[in-house]
């Protein structure tokens, strides 16, 4: 048991160090503006966690980050870099909104159909770079970035005919397609936009953990990520596993649109993802591509996103964007340096 705790600690120390260092750097920036770092951070924490409404806002901000983080983490586990969660979530939201608004289905089927559409659109968009990688060896990073831009261009094009007149949003979805708010179940969160998509995300995190660590397909995926040569030698159909991992990652990112589109606004809106897909990279990095770590990291970044808005009176809200980027840079530096130190110790 002690050895296990030790292993957890070794995993958790570098990201915690990176977060702490980023907060210190942010503190210097706050002090440079003539504000008190402790006061600003104190306000941020008290607003993001101190009231039911604040907690609800934090959970709402964390929801798409959780999905995006799980999507990137799954791809990481397969040795793939999914920079395309943004576009997958974007198209997923578009598909969900269209199904929710126009599909001629009985009400009881409408919400499942909208969720399925979101997952399918994301999976299709994710599968393309997966196929290109498996079939032609084309590197997935540039391809997923290109797929993001193509998704933006396509939606902008379709939007010209589908958006409500003089707006950049689609028609409102039918009431049966709405994901209920959490404050229906937990009155304490009253007024916050947190919704049941969060519960879906948590279930998905649990399912991903089971899949990765308890099933054969998950095991093969992890071997593929750790050592593609060994996977191939052991008889894993690596191409298929790559496409499968990318399609699943895309489906998860696509479902991540449910919170905003089906649970909050009840329509698709231009640029609704607002970088959540890219933030998934930071979430997966800090969470070390483990479902539990990803969940905690999404919560942290969600609190930061909401907290940034409430401290805007003292320091520009963009401070949190700087912090998030610094966390990424510090984290990857810390991982590389810690790993080098560990290797030296073993040698």
């Amino acid at each position: 048991m002690n050895a296990r705790l030790d292993a957890v600690w070794r995993q958790a120390l570098p990201p915690l160090a990176a977060v702490a260092l980023a907060l210190v750097a942010g503190g210097v920036l706050i002090a440079a503006l003539g504000e008190s770092p402790l006061e600003v951070y104190g306000l941020l924490v008290s607003q993001a966690f101190g009231t039911g409404y604040g907690v609800g806002q934090t959970l709402f901000k964390a929801t798409p980050l959780l999905f995006a983080g799980l999507s990137v983490a799954l791809a990481f586990r397969a040795g793939l870099f999914n920079v395309g969660a943004e576009g997958q979530m974007y198209l997923g939201g578009f598909a969900a909104a269209l199904v929710g608004a126009y599909a001629p289905l009985p009400p009881v089927l409408l919400l499942p159909a909208a969720l399925l559409a979101a997952a399918a659109a994301g999976a299709a968009w994710g599968a393309v770079p997966g196929v290109l990688k498996a079939r032609f060896g084309a590197h997935e990073v540039i391809n997923t970035i290109m797929m993001n831009f193509i998704a933006f261009a396509l939606v902008a094009w379709w939007g010209r005919t589908l958006f409500m007149p003089a707006t950049v949003r689609t028609a409102e979805i039918a009431p049966a397609a709405v994901v209920p708010r959490l404050d229906v179940l937990v009155p304490w969160l009253r007024g916050s936009p947190a919704n049941l998509a969060l519960v879906l995300g948590l279930l998905l995190a649990w399912a991903l953990g089971v899949w990765l660590f308890r099933t054969r397909a998950g095991y093969e995926t992890r071997v593929l990520g750790l050592n593609p040569g060994a996977a191939e030698y052991a008889g894993v159909r690596t191409g298929l596993a790559q496409v499968q991992a990318f399609a699943l990652a895309g489906a998860i990112a696509g479902l991540g649109s449910a919170s905003f589109v089906l649970g909050y606004k009840h329509w698709f809106e231009l640029d609704f993802t607002a970088g959540a897909g890219f933030m998934g990279i930071a979430v997966a990095l800090i969470g070390r591509s483990h479902p539990l770590g990803v969940t905690l990291a999404a919560l942290f970044f969600g609190a930061l996103a909401y907290g940034g808005l409430v401290v805007n009176r003292h320091v520009p809200a963009d401070l949190v964007n700087v912090l998030r980027a610094l966390v990424i840079l510090f984290a990857i530096s810390a991982y590389a340096l810690f790993e080098r130190a560990a290797r030296r110790r073993r040698a």
């Binding site: 290109m146 831009f149 396509l154 094009w157 990279i281 930071a282 949190v320 980027a325 990857i332 590389a336």
Partner: protein
Amino acid sequence: MNALDALLFAAATLRITVPYALAAMGAALGERGGVVCLALEGIMLHGALAYVLGAWFLGDPWLGLLCAIAAGAATAALHALVTVTFRADAITSGIGINLLAAGLTRFVLVTVFHSSSNSPRVVGLPDLPLGPVAQVPGLGPLLATPLVPIVLVLVPATTWLLFRTPFGLRLRATGERPEASAALGLSVAGLRWSGVLLCGVLAGLAGAWLASEQHSFTDGMTGGRGYIAIAAMIVGKWHPAGAAAACLLFGATEAAQIALQGSGFPSALLQALPYAVTMLALAGFIGRATPPRALGTPYDPERG
């Protein structure tokens, strides 16, 4: 389309191509050394803001240009520190730097200019005294804009630097087989640092051009141009001449998109064209685009 229209279209294409070509040349130098340069977008954004800050507070566009170069080099230095010195993953570092630039530039915009959307108007770079050449419709004023002649010289210069000088040979060797470079007594880290710093200078200039053309800084003004420049460099197979040709192609599709606006032509298709072309090139449908062998692999002398 008559001759004048063609000339104006060519001028518009060239104008759009300038920042792409500057950044793509930079990326070719950085990536030939073995470091993935996804940070281009963030470097350009910092360059654009630094130009505006320099032009506003120092009152001189040339000093603004110097500030852009310095900011570009400083941002690239951060990328080199994380990827070359600490040996962390360059793709993630690039994305981190792009997020940093998006946040930091708006942070500075709000703090200095008290606006989250744009800076006040600043002077642009002055025209060069070209005499009668400047009178040619469309093309003349463009050639008089300082960075255009620079780009026209830069493409052959980058090719020469990479393929005809000892530095270029060593840089390319470091991107292909860093262990061989190290065995020859070359500094892998030093060469990679210089490639990335050159990339920072050129991408900083690209940002300065955008800000000078627009006479201001606006939030997120690079609008994905850094990614397009990377894509062009890939389509151009990591060769400056190929990259420049791809930049021209992408510039022409963008110019056509603007020219066709309101004509009912599905402009989204043109907008998506550079991205689709890049994906086809990566998949090997447009010849084989082979990256430098050690691209994206940190060099660890202890592992060789």
